[in-house]
Structures are given as C-alpha cells and as structure tokens.
C-alpha cells in the first residue's frame, strides 16, 4: 500500500524546486515509501502527554543584540561570487508578477 503517490511526489518536487526524469520519480516514490513506511512506526508511541520539543537547550531564551551597526563587506566582495550581476545588483531572469 503506497503511502505517497507518484502525483504527490511530483507536487512535493515542485514545492522543493526539484525536477526528475520519469525513472527517477519511480525510484524516489519507491524509496520515499520505504522510508515513510519505516517512520510510520512512530504511531506506536503514545505522545498524548507530551509537547513537541521546542528547543533542545533547556531554559534558553532568545539572546538580544544591541542596535549598533557594524561595517559590512564591500560590495565588490559581496558580488564577487554572484553568478550574474549588473550595476551593483544581482541579476535573475525576469520575474513575472
């Protein structure tokens, strides 16, 4: 019995901005089903009395930072690794609204 269908796999792929060849989808669907099948064992556990783990470090709360500006990197450094840039901006294919 499949837990996740091929269609769902395709939908998830779109959400994750991934794409696969048909045979890859087959393989992924099968592997994901195996893993999800295993993971379903969690249903054996009675978790009705507990809250989800919010933070592993007990008793820690968000540390707050002072509102003091720092000097950041130079733009040349920043854009040096950019795949595409123009006039100080990062460049991407046209975004259609």
């Amino acid at each position: 019995m499949a837990i996740i269908t091929r269609q769902e796999v395709e939908h998830v792929a779109l959400l994750a901005r991934l794409a696969f060849e048909p045979d890859e989808i087959e393989r992924f669907t099968s592997q994901l089903n195996d893993i999800l099948g295993h993971v379903a064992r969690l249903d054996d556990l009675d978790t009705s009395q507990v809250a989800p783990t919010a933070s592993v470090v007990a008793g820690l709360s968000t540390p707050l930072r002072e509102d003091e500006p720092w000097v950041g990197p130079l733009r040349e450094e920043v854009l040096a690794g950019a795949p595409a840039s123009e006039r100080g901006f990062y460049r991407v294919p046209r975004v259609l609204e």
Partner: protein
C-alpha cells in the same frame, strides 16, 4: 616520519620548548599528505600556502622571544566556512564557493595559534554515513582502502587516522563525527548541543548539528575542545556559561561511577564481534571501579524514525537558499565542470585553488529563461541523489496535511526520548553502547540502499536528538577493522566523558595501533 607520529599535545609541547619549528611540522604533514592522500582522498583543498605563511610568521615571532600558542596543523570538514578558502560541503553546487566570512570555531582555532592545513571531504551537505555521497569522490578508510571511512565527516576522520593531520574538526548531526571516528579508529566527540558555536557551520539540521573534534587520543580531544567551546553571540542557540578547563578532566579516576548500557542500542542489529569488543570494554571499566548494568531507553528504538523526519524537514528548509541567485552554481553558466582527465580524487593543489578536482559529468545547458526553470535546473544539477531524497522527504513531512502527523509527532516522540534520558541520568552517570552496529563496510555496499545506510546511525542518533554529549573511543578490532565504544552523558558533562575515556585509554592500547597499509610504524 617521527614527527607526524606525535600527538597534537606532544607537538604543542615540542614547539613551545623550541625543539621543533612550526614550519618543520607543517612541511612534515604536507609531505605525508603528498604520500598518502592519493589513496585515501581525505582532502578537497590543501591550504599549503596559508599554513606555511602562518607557521613562518609565528616562528619569527617566537624567535623574538614571544611565545605564541598552538602551532599545530589541523583540518576542517568542508562544511565549515573559512573566509576566502574554497568551501564546498562536498557538493558540486558549491564548487568554487569562497565564503565571505569564517566560522567562529575556525577563527578560535587560528586565534589560538593552530594552523589550517586543509578542508576535508564529506558526504554532500553532511548527509550520509559513508562519505560516498560526496559530489567529488569517495574517501577510503586508511585501515582498508576498499572500505568506507564512515560519514559524514569521513575525510576528517581518515585524515587523522592516516596521520595526515594531527587533529581535525568535523560536524555531527546524527553521528557524523562519532561513527567515522569509530570506523577509523580515532577519537571523536559530539559536544552538548550549544557548547560549540554553529556560526559558520553550513546548516544541515539546525536543532541537531554540532561541530566537534576528531583526534588521535583523549588528551588531544580535551585540548581542542577547550579551544573551540564557549558562548558566541552570533549563534543564538549557543549556551551562555563559560566552559571549564577540559584538560583538568584528564584524571583516570572513575571509581564509583555508574554506567548504564541501554538495551535498545545493544540489540540484534549489533554484529557479534562489535558486541564482544563493547562487552570487553565494559569489563575494563568494571575493573576501574565503574558499576555497569543494563538499562532501557524505550523510545530509543524509535530514534531513527524521529530523526528521519526531523532532520530532513530542517534540511529541506536550510537548503532552500541554494537557488542560483547569490552564489554557487547556476544552471547554464557552465560552472559545474564535468570530470576531466587526471582530475580524480584528492586535491593536492600546490596553490590554494582548490576545490576538488572534478564533478561528475554534467552537461552545460543553455541559460534558463525563466525563474522557475532557473531554480529547478540549478538545484537538479547541483545536488546529488541523497540530498534530493532528504529534501523531498523533508518537504513532504512539513507540507500541509502532513505536518501534524509527521513533524509534530516526531518532535513529541523526541520529548519522550529526552525524558527517557533524563530518567536514565537520574540513576547513571554515563551510558555506554557501541558507536556503530558494524565496523566499516565496503565502498559501494550500501550506497544504493538508503535504509540500510541509515541503520549505521542507530546507536548515535539518540544522543543527537537529546542534545547530550557523546564521545567515541577506539575499543578494539573486528577482523582488523576498528570498533568504537560510545560514551554518553548528561548535558554539559564533557568532563565526565573525558575522564572515563581517558581512564579507559590509559588501560588499553587501541589508540596506539596504526593502519598497517599506510606504512606508519607502530610505537
């Protein structure tokens, strides 16, 4: 040869006493890397110039009478950022990427006078248990070159085991320091979550990731831990208190301690010889005065399942930034180059250039004309199958309709596990288990069977989920392959773990054994 057989602590002393110069030490290790790394394949980048320069400078300062510290070379897993040094995380996506900043842990080591010698190979984005998922090449286990070194910090563990570097840092999310340390016969520690800053550690699963040391013995472990632990305002999950001096814990007195062996981590999946080695180790601890008995962590039987929901979920979000816009690969720009002649394995580039020789063959397509295609093609080309698998799994368990059933359920189960540990630590000071159910398996054996691969982390995952510290120390061999003993403790009980491991190490000689294949003499 002799120099490289010294431990990091011994080298620090030799250097401080003027017996040897830093430059000599650096050359010795570079020579060793040249000799062995073609077979082992630990390194993606060797930062020879940087190490030589820093060594020369520190030597000059020392000649002038000042006593700079450290002086010992080290390696960093390639998912730890160093400014302007290629950092690939074992992924083709980040081929050529040079971070604009350094990780806090890296900066602390260099500030303490240690010398960065190179970046080591790992499973892509730290996802894996064998380093076979590296986008560049697998790393070999120095004890048997046809076997995996473990993962995901396989490069770091193999480098230390092969004497190519005195110590290294790795990262551990579900066992990625401990399991390779165990496979390679070296010592590795996953610290308490929050003890070591994650700033600059490329995130895989944020609530599980920790940086930790991989060393040849426990004394070195204490030294390195001391150099990197401590609060960091740049990491909001780092703990606040000032860490103790870990070297003070190196006292082999464990009389009266109580140790539990959780049966869930010592069950049928454990290979017989591994079981025997661990039982022998328990006996040694018993001789040292430790009281040992079996105990139970009922939820630990489900730890793998919790992990394979939570970790991929966080990973799917952490890896969304790899979209081709600001850095790294972008489809159509031909940056990810197909593997060329002589490009295989290892990267002893004389210059700093380096990230890894070659990517697996990827044809350069025409630049995508629309945004969606850009994202999809970039990620398709840049990521390997295991990363894609985990992103898919993670996206699925977070998606509408499944979030409660999977993610929330797993986080609740995690709370049960943490309660089990708390109960156990109410009675025991430490918990012990094998680090891994088996010793190193052959390269290629599990790479096509994800579930089988995941089982390698059976013993290490529970400590990760609970955020508690866990250490792996060599405890013998199974048919010539190292076996590791895992020692776990309460949060921030690294001193206890070090004490137990040190006492055990003093009583045994496993840490003195050397991989025969690589020609380093036994002591």
């Amino acid at each position: 040869m002799k120099l490289i057989e010294s431990t990091a602590s011994q080298l620090v002393t030799l250097i401080r006493e003027g017996e040897v110069k830093r430059s000599e030490v650096v050359e010795a290790y570079l020579e060793r890397i040249a000799a062995v790394d073609e077979s082992v394949g630990s390194f993606l980048t060797v930062t020879a110039d940087r190490a030589r320069r820093s060594a020369r400078l520190a030597d000059t300062v020392a000649e002038g009478g000042a006593t700079p510290a450290g002086g010992v070379p080290f390696a960093l897993k390639d998912n730890i950022c160093v400014k302007d040094v290629p950092t690939t995380c074992g992924s083709r996506y980040l081929t050529g990427y040079r971070p604009p900043y350094s990780a806090t842990a890296a900066t602390r080591l260099e500030d303490a006078g240690f010398l960065l010698l190179g970046k080591t190979n790992c499973d892509e984005f730290a996802m894996g248990s064998s380093t076979e998922n590296s986008g560049f090449h697998p790393t070999a286990n120095p004890w048997d070159l046809r076997r995996v070194p473990g993962g995901s910090s396989g490069g770091s563990a193999a480098a230390v085991a092969a004497f190519a570097v005195p110590f290294a840092l790795g990262s551990d999310t579900g066992g990625s320091i401990r399991q390779p340390a165990s496979f390679c016969g070296v010592v590795g520690l996953k610290p308490t979550y929050g003890l070591v800053s994650r700033y600059g550690l490329v995130a895989f699963a944020s609530s599980l990731d920790q940086i930790g040391p991989i060393t040849r013995d426990v004394t070195d472990l204490a030294m390195v831990l001391g150099a990197i632990a401590g609060p960091d305002p740049l990491d909001s999950t780092s703990s606040r208190g000032k860490p103790p001096d870990y070297t003070q814990a190196l006292v082999p007195d464990v009389d009266g301690l109580r140790a539990g062996i959780p049966r869930e981590l010592f069950g049928e999946g454990i290979e017989p010889e591994v079981r025997q080695r661990v039982e022998e180790a328990a006996a040694v601890l018993g001789e040292l005065g430790v009281e040992i008995e079996e105990c139970s962590l009922p939820s630990a039987a489900y730890a793998l399942d919790m992990y394979y929901v939570i970790a991929p979920a966080e990973a799917s979000s952490n890896l969304a930034r790899y979209d081709g816009v600001r850095y790294g690969h972008r489809a159509g720009l031909g940056r990810v180059t197909p593997a060329g002649e002589g490009d295989e394995g290892g990267a002893i580039a004389g210059a700093e250039d380096g990230a890894a020789g070659g990517a697996k063959g990827v044809p350069a397509a025409a630049p995508p004309g629309d945004l969606l295609s850009l994202y999809v093609a970039t990620r398709r080309e840049g990521f390997g199958p295991e990363v894609k698998r985990r992103i898919m799994l993670g996206t699925y368990v977070l998606s509408a309709g499944y979030y409660d059933a999977y993610y929330i359920k797993a986080q609740k189960a995690r709370t049960l596990l943490r309660q089990d540990f708390e109960r156990a630590f109410g009675r025991y000071d430490i918990l012990i288990s094998p680090t891994s159910p088996t010793p190193a398996f052959p390269i290629g054996e599990r790479v096509n069977d994800p579930l089988a691969m995941y089982l390698a982390d059976l013993c290490t995952i529970p400590a990760s989920l609970a955020g508690i510290p866990a250490l792996s120390v060599p405890c013998g061999f199974s048919q010539g392959l190292p076996v590791g003993l895992q020692i776990m403790g309460r949060a921030f009980s690294e001193e206890t773990l070090l004490r137990v491991a040190f006492a055990y190490e003093q009583r045994t000689d496993h840490h003195t054994k050397r991989p025969p294949l690589l020609g380093v003499k036994r002591r």
